[in-house]
Symmetry: D2
Subunit: 301 residues, 4 copies
């Protein structure tokens, strides 16, 4: 028996890269949080303290900022692909690079009919995400792209029930015919290939998710998530699978009966903890092999 | 010399009251975080553990939820006024009640031309606030209303400079002709009186703040805040004063010169800490006496 | 009527100053979060954008770090006093400087009988605080020192009741003979004068607070806070007043009766929101004038 | 091609279970954050909204609290094993249950030589963790136990260098002979089997991790992590592997030279973002098969 190094990776997390396009008086802004990491044969660094093969995290940071200028940021996916490919060239001992991006949306300040040219208001909520993994060197190099959205807080004030569930000796929950359904959704979808109009696909998928959430009668959050995933897969053949992580933001009907008041779904207390957490994957039965696309991405598999 | 009780107050903080209006198929939602507190002659509770004059924080909680039904929530200000007046009746030893409300905005899910009837997406950012203090009993009872907005993250990608400042032996900052100006603004304004169209006033003032931020050339964040406050006071005679707390969200130009790249205001690193913190009040020279309107409200005076 | 500038201040918040003393092989660490601010006649900056009297927040930052070397950090109070006095010299238009410090405690790594010489483990919890305000110039310059502790999470699993309270039509809370009492305490105490052994006083007062919390039978959190304040004032004549902000960290007895289980104070659910918030001042009836000691410090007066 | 359900799980996250042992006047406290989840054949819930096989998350919550009484909490691992085994009985369609526990440590209030009987101070930092997965039914049922610690913030003020690293055109970092090394460590170790003295093993492993951190000269954080893992595996044959996630909490030497001051490793600025993130596994070359032990646990594989 001997002690050995197992899986490992390293990189620079949460580089707050802000790219302003100011070629005309009407500026554009891309506001990113970029995390890079490399995997590969870095055993000497661990066992002997030998850094000769280590491209420092500080250099990864510099590169993330330089690429915002050299390559530019037309979309998180395109930028991350460029960065990931570069790192495999720059660090010969790396065999995979993972680039994770969060993008915060800004609206133009509401001045004039089309908004202000260079003043912006941060939208909040609904952060766009991208996770790109570039795998291998040379002709066989693969690239995996997962796009997504997080902090998408949605709520239905009716059209949701929860009943007919399994009961045991620890069950006290009454069945509910009409309840609030709310979640702070994380959705991630994996594209087949990289020949995608990233921004158009994102906009369309976000809209499909919201429509399915709104219009599906819900007998459980599981059913709603499945309907949302199916809607995306039906409309977007370039998407192989969709994964959801949905914390149930419970809204409990407040008991007003001690005060002689009716409460027909009008007054709720929003609870913090504990919360139901529902996770589900919706996929094609012939989906392509994900390779290492999901490695390191929070989720349940 | 003896040891005595000084200023004190108690209450229930962060009641997450969600009120759904469902009188028609087109629902409305008011999503509030409500904190209540009472001040008065509560010495016996402190010195003798005698709770006879203490309206428990649990009862304050129940009342906050009951009032969402009994009184309703047409605006944070109106709801808070009703609640504050009630508490002074319910707790005879109280001489002031302070009700602080945060309201989170929801948009209708983008389904159909007018949005969905009962599915909503939380907007994020720009939380509306209200702080109401009801003071005293009977005919002389006063009520103070402060409205506001927080988490309003705004950014200008040009139109901001910082130069001509005082220098000493610890100064290293170069002067800047063109920089990013960004802040996560907290603004609070105090109304004279309570005969105000709360929702209309809020919408108008938020718009004025954004317009002034966008269109004022900035020689310092101080100048921008002053311009924003002045714009509000000029347009709204019912506002007595405006207070700002503005953490400067620094965006530092990333030095790309080691890589042979120009950076003419295109690539920035957004920094977390430390941050400049600018606080200012803009007021009328004949503003009404604020009484205890600002007591307990975070701010610098 | 005209629009004028009211109260204002500016500075650099949250400078994370870490000072290592390494004069011997046995290192010492002081880990600080320092916020500085200046008040005074800064009208030109606001109304005309004229920065000639403004000592930039960047310079304040440089000074905070330089003083960690030049003056040193023997205690947060001593360091803050030095920094505050310096700023009034450096910025002639300032008439007050406020320096707020949080200090995070580190223990030596548990290696050998006395701990390791240069490896440390951050303790977590119980952050020491100091707020120093230096006021005015020349012979009449005053200095106010408030010390304190925050994030001090304490809990009693018995020895606490809550009953005999005021009841109204919104009361549902049953009386409690034996409950958990827990809070995440913020305590701040104001010293008379600056001729104090800061570290010894802090250690003693923290111990007195914990002892009074532990050993006082509690008929309400208010009574416990009062007892804690009295204990400090009785033992420390150099302390003029003590202020508490105590969010009641509710632990609700979990109802196990549906499962045929007794629950005699053994199983609780710790709740997040809402929470009771109790604030109280304990003072001497002949306490010195606080001047502007408390300006800008979170609290209720 | 058709659309199908992929991997899924559901449960109740962040149950804040507090268990007081009060059989004698000297109370004991176990303060837990418990998350439960089930995996299995739950397709009908997703595709048809049929909840007949779903043990609701509310029931899982009730069970977590009931088991704190019925089974008790002698250690997070033992409690989680009992809970996980129960759920596989209670939910016949489940084929795996995952129970994740965080435990917050409390010290006795420092009153008297042995601390107070029923007053406690929360320690902060160094949260103990356990992740238990119970897999399958009947005789072939397996149970996997991962223990760990998180929020363990450690720092060395010397004994760390970083040099000899790979350089490219984006490298600007100078080599460092003597720097601060600090991290907020997450460590998780997997036990072979369940016949372990959970509390004794935890205490021993935590001590080994701290000793190895303190006493290993560090040529990179990677080397330090490897040494820490090796120390655990050498001393604990019941541990199969150790995984680390170590965000590098950068402490940058503050440049005091513009002020004519030397800075020989005495004054640092602690930075928030970005940060290096180093992840590594140290394992035996003949480690047992982890099965689904790591599924859903944050980490890079």
């Amino acid at each position: 028996m001997s002690i050995v190094l197992g899986a490992n990776q390293y990189g620079k997390a949460e580089n707050r890269v802000v790219r302003i396009y100011r070629d005309t008086v009407r500026h554009e802004i891309r506001d990113l949080n970029v995390s890079t990491s490399l995997r590969g044969d870095f055993e000497a660094a661990h066992t002997d303290g030998d850094q000769a093969d280590i491209l420092p995290t500080d250099t990864q940071k510099n590169t993330a900022f330089a690429y915002a200028k050299e390559h530019g940021v037309t979309s998180p996916e395109d930028y991350a692909l460029a960065l990931g490919r570069h790192f495999l060239d720059a660090a010969p001992k790396a065999d995979a690079a993972r680039i994770a991006v969060e993008e915060y949306a800004w609206d133009r300040a509401p001045v004039g009919p089309d908004g202000h040219d260079h003043a912006f208001v941060r939208r909040g909520g609904a952060t766009r995400t991208a996770v790109v993994t570039v795998d291998g060197h040379g002709a066989g190099q693969a690239a995996y792209v997962i796009a997504g959205v997080q902090d998408l807080v949605v709520l239905k004030s009716t059209g949701s029930e929860f009943k007919g569930f399994l009961k045991d000796e620890y069950t006290t929950l009454p069945e509910a015919d009409d309840r609030i359904l709310a979640t702070s959704l994380v959705a991630r979808w994996r594209y087949d290939g990289t020949d995608v109009d990233w921004n158009a696909a994102y906009d369309s998928i976000l809209q499909l998710l919201l429509e399915a959430f709104a219009t599906t009668y819900s007998r459980a959050l599981q059913e709603t998530l499945y309907a949302m995933g199916r809607a995306v897969l039906e409309a977007h053949p370039e998407v192989a699978e969709v994964r959801f992580s949905a914390p149930n933001k419970h809204h409990f009907l407040y008991d007003l009966s001690p005060f002689g008041l009716e409460n027909n779904g009008e007054v709720f207390i929003a609870a913090d903890r504990p919360y139901g957490l529902i996770e589900a994957t919706v996929t094609r039965d012939d989906a392509s092999d994900p390779g290492n696309a999901w490695v390191s991405t929070p989720g349940f598999v």
